[in-house]
Amino acid sequence: MDLWTDIGLFLATVLWVAMLVKLTRRWFQNSVLTGLVVLAFIAAMVPFNGLVIGSYVFSVTSYLSISTLLLLVAFIVLSCAGARCEQLLGYWHCRRQWRPTVMFFAISGLLLYPLAGGLTMFDPYRLGFAGSPGSILLPLYLMGWAIVCLLRGWYLLLLLIASAVLCFYLKILPSLNLWDYVLDPLVVIYSLLMLLKALFCKVFKFQYLNKQVF
């Protein structure tokens, strides 16, 4: 296995641990949850039928984007830290930060994925390769979002976009396509579900539960 595979396994392991945290956090105190996270990381490295658990997750997800990685890590850390990071938690649960974030991933996903099925000759994924025809559009699109984030104070989204771009420079992933650093199907599906949920609550006059983002 090469370095890229190790990075992919790490990303998949973070997803596996986040899923466990999501499923179990309501039953455990923060200190117990922290122990569980450590156990989950160790368990992910235990071989099963020739492969570690992270490998099975990696088989399905391939390389997660940097955005997803950061969101998952933040979720795990804040779930374990609890009230000790009250200020950060308040920021994390702030609807003002989350709405533009899920909007960005939902819109970007809708721009990218439907056309990936070959509906037309235009392939937006190709814009992620530097130097391909029209590829300037993708950094312009991202910079546009970054500037709006700056002006509107959407710092969570700004952090995610900036991190993706920086990791693209550093070639953290084996891909040379910028899209692969910015988003992946998991964060897009999550964002679309969150938007549907908000829409549903608005239409049916339910209170939008902005305190349970994940």
Binding site: S55, Y56, S62, Y63, A130, G131, L142, L176
Partner: protein, 392 residues
């Protein structure tokens, strides 16, 4: 604070804008053959008119597996050919492995048949679960390394395939660790292979692939010498074209043929072309060549003519023919039927997945799936080809 953030944003986006606004250097198709073939052809005895026409056929696989499918071949530095195919109890079964064997040109014998890629081993090397292994394709690059690309599936059907490759710099005696190509935004799924890769003049690789999830369409990957995906472009769109083959004619021009999966009663091969080394491709049209939803293979002769091996009928695969065009695919003539059998209610003949190549002695070799049980090898020399052209 906001001003500092503004400068930060400017700082990280300016290099990105510069990088993405700089067009990639123009490419040119490489028409140079690898050193092995070039040196051999320059003094090929076959070019002499005294050479007798020769057409021989045999099996390349020994039948150790119940099924064998999707063979490809590559030239070795000793002049011999090496074949790769996959075999097992049935297509997609867990016991399917990729096999290899070497053709000793001097005695016309296939030898050293062995398993090259086994599912469990490959799974451990790639660090992912593999459900099945599929089509291999091979090529020899400008540094005389042999590349073997092959598809793997972790879950679902062939539409969920991903591409991997291994490289050998000692003619297939030893191989590198496998590398997985990143080719698709949807969990890196649905990129498959059949057509042979080709070289650009800068040593980078053009790799015809296809997509099979929701739509079915041909694509062209541009790979660096190290195997990184530098670009990906569509050759077609829609739901019925796949398994492209690329046949360059000069440094800027190439023809592409694609299998037709439309299911139409009068289906023919799709074709598209470029005159600017692949920066743009013409709108795909239907050629005059019948195609029963089956893969084709071809090569361009030094004379500029085109040779194609295809199932020369609109349905069923009980025919496999050698076709020739001397006007860049505008018209085709049937040179020879490699296989022609009549199906009966009890027996359905299937001759498919041809791979046409030229060996170091200038002879031509066709490998193809023979009734899905064996890999058949047909070999003919240039004199035989000349005689067929004259008599057709």
């Amino acid at each position: 604070m906001r001003l500092a953030l503004f400068f930060f944003v400017v700082l990280i986006f300016i290099p990105l804008l510069l990088q993405f606004s700089t067009p990639t250097p123009a490419l040119a198709f490489s028409l140079e053959r690898d050193a092995v073939l070039e040196s051999a052809l320059s003094d090929a005895p076959d070019s002499a008119s005294s050479v007798q026409a020769a057409y021989r056929e045999q099996f390349a696989s020994s039948g150790v597996t119940r099924e064998a499918h999707s063979a490809v071949q590559v030239r070795l530095s000793n002049g011999n050919m090496r074949a790769f195919w996959y075999g097992g109890t049935r297509e997609g079964a867990k016991d399917v492995s990729i096999y290899t064997a070497e053709l000793d040109l001097a005695v016309n014998e296939w030898r050293d048949e062995r398993v090259l890629i086994e599912r469990h081993d490959m799974s451990e090397q790639l660090g992912i679960y593999l459900r099945k292994i599929g089509n291999p394709v091979s090529m020899r690059d400008s540094q005389d390394r042999i590349w073997l690309f092959f598809v793997t599936v972790s879950f679902g059907g062939w539409a969920c395939s991903s591409i991997n490759f291994i490289v050998s710099d000692d003619d297939g005696q030893s191989w590198s660790e496998p590398t997985r190509l990143m080719t698709s935004p949807i969990l890196n799924l649905s990129t498959l292979v059949k057509g042979e890769p080709f070289l650009y003049q800068d040593g980078s690789i053009g790799f015809p692939v296809y997509h099979e999830m929701a739509g079915k369409f041909g694509e062209l990957l541009h790979l660096s010498r190290e195997g990184k995906v530098l670009d990906k472009q569509r050759l077609t769109s829609g739901r019925s074209s796949l398994q492209p083959i690329v046949l360059p004619s000069d440094e800027d021009s190439a023809l592409v043929y694609m299998r037709n999966a439309s299911g139409a009663a009068d289906s023919t091969l799709f074709e598209t072309s470029t005159n600017d080394a692949g920066r743009t491709w013409s709108t795909a049209t239907l050629s005059e060549l019948p195609n029963p939803n089956a893969a084709v293979s071809g090569l361009r002769l030094t004379s500029g003519g085109l040779l194609l091996v295809s199932n020369n009928q609109h349905d069923n695969r009980n025919n496999l023919s050698l076709m020739f065009s001397d006007n860049d695919g505008q018209t085709w003539q049937l040179l020879h039927e490699l296989e022609q059998e009549d199906n009966t209610p009890d027996i359905e003949y299937r001759f498919a997945y041809p791979a046409l190549s030229q060996s170091a002695d200038g002879e031509f070799h066709v490998l193809y799936t023979w009734n899905k049980t064996r890999i058949k090898h047909v070999r003919f020399n240039q004199q035989w080809l000349r005689e067929r052209m004259e008599s057709s």
